[in-house]
Point group: C2
Chain length 386, copies 2
């Protein structure tokens, strides 16, 4: 097995999803750390915080009041990064002009949502049972499905799926008047990941443009299909990982959880659908619960790893809201988790100078990370402390 | 002037150096911030710290002692990310095999240096006069020049330049036995940027491979030349910025400092050589001092902006150590500064969920950032306080 050598030597690994390389230096974990220490999250939050703008019944920054919601609650972000209405901008397009090559801009419209996971202020996905995470996934599915374009290849499938998911008056939102191109569901968890409110929530930004990362992935997955007789990159990859078992953290029938070969963040994982799921609306009832289980397993293992509320950013990649048959067919549902902690609850990995100027660099190998995450299943550490 | 609209609307801008887009949301700076606050650096460092592994005369982690150096001191990092000697790794290359497509790795060798800017523990580039920064640039130039391949297109130029720069026994290092491909000079300044020792220093990582970022830039600059009759991207860009004056922060005869059109970090700047400088060894005596002035202007303005020791990562991009005539010709010397602070000494911009999963997003525009940086020249605020 030649890969054994990679435990000891510096090497680069290729990320086929983005078409880029990263540097792996396994021996670097031996160096002492005298730099910044993160403040470990103090677990003394109340179940209800009268000052929290996400708790049920409370008033938000711009005056609206939250309903007494039961599980999820969805609203338009009071400080959205993109808006539905704005002044028009038509860039000049004189192709012979240097400025039109080097000072390129495009207007972006869209709508940003905030979506709570629970009325309880003091819990996280790691504390929630899969059955309690299910309503979150149902809400994601309904929002995604209701924002699809009229001519979307998944439109009929979405209608069938949405008919089966119970409506949630606090989770529903009407799509904007003009059709948007992409929906990015993501969570920033923990102060270290820029999260400014511990109340469990995620964000959903929908834009008139296809953002860089899902755009790159679609292009790479399309190229792979074209060059490999229509086979799917993530299908082949999941199959390979199930055979090798070196980077698998956990799996059920529908989903595989691995530390990917090309992981940049120390304990990065990816949840990959085992069959060809193009987007949330493709999931069956049973698969939605299995997806909730996968999310539960990842977040609980993260917390157990350093016995802390583990910070991360996570995000779902799936078919665009408005897309061609080809793009929908090329899409393969998956979820990324990027956590910054490296050695303990207080020592993180900084992706800074070399990483920003030259190339991402990691210390422990994904195989070592996967082994550690495999070993920390079981009850959530906080429950055992009680 | 149509660009005025961009002050108010959400839009994307194109980075021609990397070929990617970013999202700009100028109105987002209005949102209140309740998240993590950075600890402002407390300026109570001693000029000499007996526990610092970079101060003159002190002993380092692996036992070596530092000389009583006068300005810069260069040594091989005790915990290098890449090494000269390691076990061999020959990846299997069966092109029909899924594993050889999806689990690609390459060995990387190289050498990592640490390079101090001054014997004084308690200063930064912002505190140093251009004349005191000059020896740092001389050391960078000598290290770069001495690591060029024997057949490098800049070899003859390097020999001429190195003969004119006074040798510094504490700044010199012999290149490794086997030729390396690229040298990345970078600085992580401040705890927020993962710096674990405030003693003023940078790092120099040299590798057998061309890293992602300079690789992307070379490809994009090459493409621009090919498509625009041999003109240089950064030449055209610098010219354009000098005409527009909207994003210019400062300039002297040889260098232009701008907040680039495509800046991701709030107060990101780029120092661009005005004439075709391919690498450090192309600079004349006078230009080296002018480069020192530019670095001084950037770092002093940064500190003045929020009256704090401003954190950043910076890095120099130039011709590879081992390269073709074409690559050398395409290279255009420049230096990036990526600082995380957004609103004050304690509130930073987090590049997290949306940025990692979808696309980089910024709040204030580069034009607004440039105006603020233009306005905070003058004495270093700390000197005025004394
Ligand atoms: O300066 P150090 O301690 O070598 O390390 C710092 O810079 C490196 C290069 O950007 C990063 O990989 C580390 O995460 C960071 O802590
Ligand atoms: O959750 P917030 O407050 O909207 O903001 C957070 O997530 C955004 C999207 O990743 C980032 O742009 C912000 O820098 C971060 O603080």
């Amino acid at each position: 097995m030649p890969d054994q050598v990679l435990d000891d030597i510096s090497h680069r690994r290729y990320n086929p999803l983005t078409g880029s390389w990263l540097l792996v230096s396994p021996h670097r974990t031996k160096r002492p750390w005298q730099g910044q220490q993160e403040a470990p999250s103090k677990n003394v939050l109340p179940e209800y915080d009268p000052k929290c703008y996400l708790c049920p019944g409370n008033q938000r920054a711009q005056g609206d009041s939250n309903p007494q919601y039961k599980n999820t609650f969805t609203f338009v972000n009071d400080y959205s990064a993109v808006k539905e209405q704005q002044q028009e901008y038509k860039p000049e397009t004189n192709k012979d002009d240097v400025a039109s090559l080097l000072l390129q801009a495009q207007p972006v419209t869209g709508r940003c949502y905030v979506l709570t996971f629970s009325p309880k202020h003091d819990i996280t996905l790691a504390d929630m049972a899969a059955a309690d995470i299910l309503p979150v996934i149902q809400t994601w599915t309904r929002i995604y499905g209701s924002h699809l374009s009229a001519t979307h290849p998944l439109k009929a499938q979405a209608e069938k799926t949405l008919a089966l998911i119970p409506a949630n008056p606090d989770g529903e939102v009407d799509p904007p008047a003009s059709q948007l191109r992409y929906m990015q569901i993501f969570e920033n968890k923990g102060a270290a990941m820029g999260c400014s409110n511990p109340h469990p929530h995620c964000q959903v930004w929908t834009t008139s443009t296809l953002p860089e990362e899902p755009g790159k992935e679609l292009a790479q997955m399309g190229k792979y299909r074209a060059e490999n007789g229509g086979r799917h990159l993530l299908a082949d990859y999941a199959q390979l990982e199930m055979e090798k078992q070196e980077r698998v953290v956990w799996q059920n029938e529908a989903f595989l959880v691995v530390c990917p070969w090309w992981a940049v963040w120390p304990f990065e994982v990816i949840i990959i659908a085992k069959r060809h799921v193009r987007a949330l609306v493709d999931l069956t009832d049973g698969e939605r619960l299995q997806f909730a289980e996968a999310v539960q397993e990842v977040t609980r293992r993260y917390d157990n790893l350093f016995e802390t509320s583990f910070p991360y950013s996570s995000g779902i990649h799936q078919a665009p809201l408005d897309c061609t048959e080809e793009e929908a067919e090329t899409s393969w549902f998956h979820m990324h988790f990027y956590p910054p902690l490296l050695r303990s609850a207080t020592v993180r990995k900084f992706l800074v100078g070399y990483e920003l100027m030259a190339e991402p660099q990691r210390d422990i190998t994904p195989e070592q990370a996967a082994a550690r995450l495999r070993d920390c299943g079981g009850e959530l550490y906080r429950k055992l402390l009680k």
